[in-house]
């Protein structure tokens, strides 16, 4: 449903010069808020995300990566080679006319090209420059390399994962997708938005220094609390303090049952059909149920294994028991709830046709959402930006292409 009104960032122009997830996710959210986002990509190869799976119908192609298509929907793509001095010149012209630059390149690379914050501040004092790096712009590790894996482990999140491991024989774990980098992109967006508000107040732009590990450390709130308050180190082997707060196998998958509160436990027992074992003194409160979990687990599993995750989910929730089925992506895409809310967006793209994408999780009552537009083809907007916007002729564009500038 389209609402009357204006998009929040309708007058804001963004240049995005980055790869993979963090900077592009920040650009995507600004684009969803109505900003114009010009994405600068390497000639011929483009954003590295273009070469990452999943690919449409398993056919690897730079225009068919699901990761890229999601992260870059609604943006304009131009190709530019910053190894050339003409490329740097064009970059500065683009930045001169923009409000925000988002980038996630190594600090030494930006210095080498002469497009670090100091240099660009001279070009445009209004510019907000959001720089995302693993460890931040200062400090002894500023030039250290990191990927989502090493960032996740450094931040401490892996050391406590998986929760409730039996022992430490297996290694700390990350999530099997790029979750951490996406979260960093969210933090970068919040920082960028705050700089935009600040600009209204102080009349100039500034650098937004985003360190991926500093974004993730506050997610460690509880393990940090254990250390700060009790001098205790949390690991993935946590004592069973109470139960049930566990993942149990069911007929067609798994469910997480959160039944620590007495009222939740009583309702759960009722749902199971008031079995005799529920009266055993071993299971009389959440703490004892945690202590004797090895005895309780088979009893609860005997019930869960007779039911599907959807049966358990809806029956339990109808009785006010906090249960969550361990959803696969099939479950999520078939969820009646998410479909009823219109969460997924359908986007038509020239190389893949119409597909469902994860949608936008927030709804503003006054400002409308952006129309959903597909991700750009590599260099799709070269002419529009270089000729129409910056005034180069089509002939000059040909020369710049031949000489490897664009």
């Amino acid at each position: 449903m389209e609402k009357m009104g204006y998009q929040i960032l309708r007058d804001i122009k963004v240049v995005e010069y980055g790869n993979l997830v963090s900077a592009p996710f920040c650009g995507k959210i600004l684009s969803d808020f109505g900003a114009e986002v010009i994405k600068i990509e390497e000639p011929y190869t483009g954003d590295m995300a273009r070469r990452k799976e999943p690919f449409f119908r398993d056919s690897p192609h730079i225009e068919k990566s699901g990761l890229f298509l999601y992260l870059n929907s609604g943006k304009l793509s131009v190709t530019l080679n910053l190894e050339t001095s003409t490329g740097v010149e064009i970059f500065k012209r683009l930045v001169k006319n923009s409000d925000i630059l988002i980038q996630n390149n190594p600090p030494n690379m930006m210095r080498q090209y002469g497009i670090d914050h100091e240099s660009l501040h001279d070009v445009n004092q209004q510019l907000i420059m959001t720089s995302i790096t693993p460890f931040g712009q200062t400090g002894p590790y500023r030039d250290y390399k990191s990927t989502e894996l090493t960032t996740f482990h450094f931040s401490g999140l892996a050391y406590v994962t998986p929760r409730m491991a039996r022992d430490t024989s297996q290694e700390p774990l990350k999530v099997s997708s790029g979750l951490a980098d996406f979260y960093v992109g969210l933090c970068a967006t919040a920082g960028t938005m705050s700089a935009l508000l600040a600009r209204m107040r102080i009349g100039q732009g500034q650098q937004v220094d985003i360190s991926s590990v500093e974004c993730l450390i506050p997610v460690m709130d509880i393990p940090i609390a254990f250390f700060s308050g009790l001098n205790r180190i949390s690991t993935r082997v946590s004592p069973m303090l109470a139960a049930p707060w566990h993942i149990l196998a069911c007929k067609d998958g798994y469910v997480h049952i959160a039944g620590l509160e007495e009222r939740h436990w009583q309702r759960l027992i009722e749902l199971i059909g008031n079995p005799e074992w529920a009266d055993e003194p071993l299971f009389e409160n959440a703490t004892s149920r945690g202590e004797y979990w090895d005895a309780l687990e088979p009893l609860l599993s005997a019930w869960t294994l007779q039911h599907t995750k959807e049966e358990i989910y809806h029956q339990a929730q109808a009785m006010g028991i906090p249960v969550g089925p361990v959803y696969t992506m099939k479950d999520i895409l078939e969820s009646e709830h998410l479909t009823a809310r219109g969460f997924f967006s359908e986007i038509e793209h020239p190389k893949t046709g119409k597909l469902r994408y994860p949608g936008i999780p927030y709804r503003f009552s006054e400002t409308p959402r952006s129309a959903t537009r597909p991700a750009p083809l590599l260099g799709q907007h070269n002419e529009e930006i270089y000729c129409n916007r910056l005034g180069y002729s089509k002939k000059e564009l040909v020369k710049m292409s031949e000489t490897g500038v664009i």
Binding site: T161, V219, P322
Partner: protein
């Protein structure tokens, strides 16, 4: 120190939220200088005040560590919102505020009489954020949600586990801070819009959808190829070696990601295993990925002889992404984290000087700051009732006697 020159100084937030997702979003607003007033009551304090981790193990309303971390920089007044007179007081406070944040379940917001429609009557340009677990529409809107159940229904749990093992779950609640961060982004967007148009608005945010929007690789794998992404431990879709390896010491680990042939050659050199570089099982990225099981075992034989720090610095010296899998103590004491001053110490009247983690973004002109401890229960009652709301002493006495402001 004062916050009068901060980015959000002059912005007042009424915080009706509990536990983590809501309170972390308002903590970030407070870091940026907004005046955040938490509304609790002695009958109904924030549940987080009695989360079982207390400073030095001594329980008390003002001693829970996670509460103190998540509510730094805020003020607190006690109003019983179960009573109509209490709701009227909250409305008075809203009338002189800019932002309201709540995470009640949708029917509770309605029955309390604190819906956006009501609050907008009181303050026409109010900005209100509601962040229920499942959103405020759709068949599951009233379902109960706890950290791990939300993690399960958003598809994250399904993606955590060892290769071919069961789903296991993260050691921290990730869906909460994801909701918080989207909350901050949308509030800053609404503030920006209000400055331009003079209009406030309501923001509805589903925590389930927020988390799913961070998993596009898995969503698109399904919509593009009808396949559910599976658990793969610490492995990557294309990089190998890519894992977490045991080091010298008790439960010590290092994560390593090799992303190119150059990385691989440098790795063989530095580890003193040039023979791996000549081994045809590892001669290019494709066969390294195919043979990663064998490779991981060989690498572990090497990493076991060194500490996690030694390996990080050794590999980083040749430009390879490597980082220890830190526990909370190692993280807090890491020299880089210390030099950047990410953790600060804050003096609290009951628990003394304690560490606090910082804000995920650093702005050079308008920095966010952690400058004050979390409020004691009802600490700012005089300020709120006398100074802000100008209630007469008789009125305050009556409200106190009736248990409305206790």
């Amino acid at each position: 120190m004062g916050v009068s020159d901060s980015l959000l100084s002059g912005i007042r937030v009424v915080d009706l939220t509990w536990v983590w997702a809501g309170p972390y979003s308002t903590a970030l607003l407070a870091d940026m200088g907004a005046e955040v007033i938490k509304v609790e009551s002695s009958k109904r304090p924030d549940l987080g005040r009695h989360y079982f981790i207390y400073y030095d193990g001594k329980p008390g309303d003002n001693r829970a560590v996670p509460y103190n971390q998540i509510n730094r920089n805020k003020k607190c007044c006690t109003i019983d919102i179960a009573e109509k007179a209490g709701v009227d007081l909250v409305k008075k406070l809203v009338a002189i505020s800019d932002i309201v944040v709540e995470n009640f379940s949708p029917p509770v917001t309605e029955s309390l009489g604190l819906s956006y429609e009501v609050l907008r009557e009181v303050k026409p340009d109010i900005i209100m954020l509601s962040l229920p677990g499942f959103g405020s529409s759709g068949p599951e809107r009233n379902y109960l949600s706890y950290g791990p159940t939300l993690e399960a229904v958003s598809g994250i749990t399904e993606l955590i586990g060892y290769h071919e093992g069961p789903p296991q779950g993260l050691g921290v609640a990730f869906t909460d801070p994801v909701g918080s961060m989207y909350g901050v982004i949308t509030i800053l967007g609404a503030l920006y819009n209000r400055k331009e148009t003079g209009k406030g608005q309501h923001i509805e945010l589903s925590q389930q959808e927020a988390a799913i929007s961070l998993l596009p690789e898995a969503v698109m794998e399904y919509t593009m190829n009808d396949r559910c992404r599976s658990r793969m431990g610490n492995r990557d879709d294309m990089m190998a070696p890519h894992g977490c390896y045991r080091c010298r010491g008790e439960d010590k680990w290092v994560s390593i990601a090799i992303s190119s042939d150059e990385d691989w050659e440098a790795f063989c050199q530095v580890s003193g295993h040039q023979e791996w570089g000549r081994d045809e099982r590892f001669s290019d990225a494709y066969v390294r990925w195919q043979n990663q099981q064998v490779l991981d075992e060989l690498i572990t034989d090497w990493t076991r002889q060194h500490t996690n720090y030694e390996i990080m610095h050794m590999l980083q010296a040749v430009g390879i992404a490597a980082a220890p899998s830190y526990n909370s103590e190692e993280l807090i004491n890491d020299p880089h984290i210390k030099e950047r001053g990410f953790f600060t110490e804050i003096e609290h009247p009951e628990v003394g000087k304690r560490i606090m983690y910082g804000t995920p973004w650093r702005l050079n002109a308008t920095p966010a700051k952690v400058y004050a401890p979390a409020p004691l229960l009802g600490q700012h009652n005089d300020y709120v009732f006398q100074e802000l709301l100008s209630l007469s002493p008789e009125n305050i006495e009556r409200l106190t006697k009736d248990g409305i402001i206790a």
